[in-house]
């Protein structure tokens, strides 16, 4: 029983007022905890979702080429020699970099110019499961290929070649069946045919060779430059190109979410602080005689200041614990409500974060109670007690 008895007993004396103060502050802490967790995870989730709309790193063999144009006619690149990437080694290298956990999809491509039904058409060998990770927007009449001898036709290519689902065709002497025709995408995918990578490599007599690899990296946890540096070291014979525009667009969205969360958190905490401050102000006014009495009994100004600050600290301590626990639970529930449950790991209890809440929230509460506590400390006993 010491000076702490006074704030503790006073809090217990007015349970409703204490409960409201704790709940308001705890709600603020819970909101901040939940938002902090959700914003970082939602950022990652958003990025993972955006990854489905394309890769952000291109891995190609190093080569010397000339871009030829003459009289307004684009004649394309003329390579002195065609180089390939070794599929197995390259994929292993990409999957083996330090930031491998940031790699969402690795989609190798083998490109072949073939004649189908007498018409020249580009056939792209792809790893369909990986390809669909970066092109989740693909939709098709028919179905996606699930066997090595099946082909997916781009909308324009199918129209030009007269292809429809179930139709058979030959590519470089190998028979394929059209499993589906892509709905128009408005991009290059409309003009080509997609075949199984291994099957096309075998048909072209280039097993294990790929022309380029598209990589989709998640950049919320590290800069894209780190990943490209690591890829360059892992693949010295390859040229690594980061598609900065794509990356910047994604990071802008992620940062927007995080900035929004921080702003909302600050507003919530400020509101909670104002509530605490007002509540302590009202307590000081209510207990003016008590303050005068304490001063008359020899309590120094510092001790009176401590009584009211400790009251706020006690509220902050309780609110920190309740709010942190509530925030951890709420973030799990909110993730479910926002349909992010599968992408966001349930918020884990972190002793360090709890410690931060138990230290930071009481400090914030004490800061909020500073003006009223100072007012209490300045009360003169004669003003408060003596009827002069």
């Amino acid at each position: 029983m010491g000076i702490l008895t006074i704030p503790l007993r006073n809090l217990r004396r007015k349970p409703l007022r204490t409960a409201v103060m704790v709940l308001v502050f705890a709600a603020g802490v819970a909101a901040v905890t939940a938002l902090a967790h959700l914003s970082s995870r939602v950022g990652e989730s958003l990025e993972a979702k955006m990854t489905a709309f394309g890769a952000n790193i291109l891995v190609t063999p190093k080569r010397e080429s000339l871009h030829v144009s003459y009289g307004g006619m684009q004649l394309g690149d003329v390579s002195y020699d065609v180089k390939y990437l070794d599929q197995t080694a390259s994929l292993a290298a990409v999957r083996g970099i330090h930031h491998k956990d940031r790699i969402a999809a690795v989609a190798p491509k083998f490109v072949l110019l073939a004649r189908v039904n007498g018409t020249a058409v580009g056939v792209i060998g792809v790893d369909f499961p990986q390809e669909r990770l970066i092109k989740s927007y693909w939709g098709a009449e028919g179905r996606m290929p699930d066997a090595p001898d099946e082909i997916l036709a781009g909308a324009s290519a199918a129209a030009a070649l007269g292809l429809s689902p179930g139709q058979r065709l030959d590519v470089e002497g190998r028979a394929f069946t059209v499993s589906g025709v892509l709905f128009p995408t408005g991009g290059d995918d409309d003009n080509v045919l997609f075949a199984d990578l291994s099957a096309l490599q075998a048909a072209a007599g280039k097993p294990g060779a790929v022309h380029f690899i598209e990589v989709s990296a998640l950049c919320a946890g590290c800069p894209i430059e780190d990943i490209t540096d690591q890829l360059e070291r892992a693949l010295p014979g390859a040229r690594i190109t980061a598609m900065q525009q794509v990356v910047k667009q994604r990071m802008m969205t992620v940062h927007f979410v995080q900035t929004l969360a921080v702003s909302v958190s600050v507003v919530i905490l400020l509101t909670a602080c104002v509530m605490i401050g007002l509540s302590v102000f009202s307590a000081v006014n209510e207990r003016i005689h008590e303050i005068g009495l304490l001063r008359a009994l020899g309590f120094s100004k510092g001790r009176v200041f401590a009584v009211f600050s400790l009251e706020a600290v006690c509220v902050g301590l309780l609110a920190g614990a309740v709010g942190y626990a509530g925030g951890v639970l709420a973030s799990g529930r909110l993730a479910g409500l926002l349909d992010l449950g599968s992408q966001i790991p349930a918020a884990a209890f972190d002793p360090l974060h709890l410690l931060l809440a138990l230290c930071g929230v009481p400090a914030l509460a004490a800061l909020a109670a500073l003006p009223p506590a100072l007012k209490a400390a300045r009360v003169e006993p004669s003003q408060a007690l003596v009827m002069l």
Binding site: I3, I6, R12, L293, G298, F299, S300, E380, L385, M387
Partner: protein, 228 residues
């Protein structure tokens, strides 16, 4: 003399207007005395008590307590003085409603972060017994009568074993019978060696004190009715 106050001046108000409460009041209190300050309403008796007990700083004049000039002491020394040498009793008991009778008596010892010692608790029980409240230690103020509440307030003032007890109208809010009981208690406290300085407007209670100090218009009067 235990306390010597000389030419005490104290005014209330601001630059727009000053209202003088004490106009050069002088008095001396001997150790072990039971002095009663009397005077009509607005004469300055409560202000004089507040100044003597260091609750209020005078605008001018000198107060010497056991050789120390109180008007020059910094606030923290006055706090220390009030916590160890002076006990205060007010017209209203000012008990903290959320503390039991014993805890209210222990309040002067709750200034620190360390707990209450066994000696302090024993002292609280002792003074509660002295004021006739043995067995009511665990009661909250709301569970006590007005007279009992004032007794707890006196016990609270006595718990740090003060040298001087200042009482401002301690019977002011009590009925006559209860007031007489409180006066008897203050006499008993004084008999144990504690100097008592009390303010009252009631002649009956004033007659129970050993010495009567009359104040009028901010000045202490001599026994023959002149300003001292």
């Amino acid at each position: 003399m235990l306390i010597t106050a000389t030419d005490i001046v104290k005014s209330y108000g601001n630059d727009a207007g000053q209202s003088p409460a004490l106009r050069g009041a002088s008095l001396a209190i001997a150790e072990g005395e039971f002095a009663c300050i009397v005077g009509r309403s607005g004469s300055g008796k409560s202000t004089l008590l507040a100044v003597l007990s260091t609750l209020l700083r005078p605008d001018a004049g000198s107060i010497v307590y056991r050789g120390a000039e109180l008007t020059r002491l910094p606030g923290r020394d006055l706090d220390r003085l009030r916590s160890s040498e002076f006990g205060m009793v007010f017209q209203m008991h000012h008990l903290l409603p959320y503390l039991t009778a014993e805890e209210n008596v222990l309040l002067p010892f709750m200034r620190g972060f360390s707990g209450i010692t066994a000696e302090q608790r024993a002292r609280a029980r002792e003074v509660l017994t002295q004021v006739g409240l043995s067995g009511k230690e665990e009661r909250l103020p709301g569970q006590l009568s007005g007279g009992e509440q004032q007794r707890v307030a006196i016990a609270r003032a006595l718990s740090p074993a003060p040298r001087v007890l200042f009482a401002d109208e301690p019977t002011g809010s009590l009925d006559k019978a209860t007031g007489r009981g409180i006066m008897g208690l203050l006499q008993a406290v004084n008999a144990r060696g504690v100097t008592v300085v009390m303010v009252t407007h009631d002649p009956e209670y004033a007659a129970m004190a050993g010495r009567r100090i009359t104040i009028d218009d901010g000045r202490v009067l001599t026994p023959d009715g002149r300003a001292a």
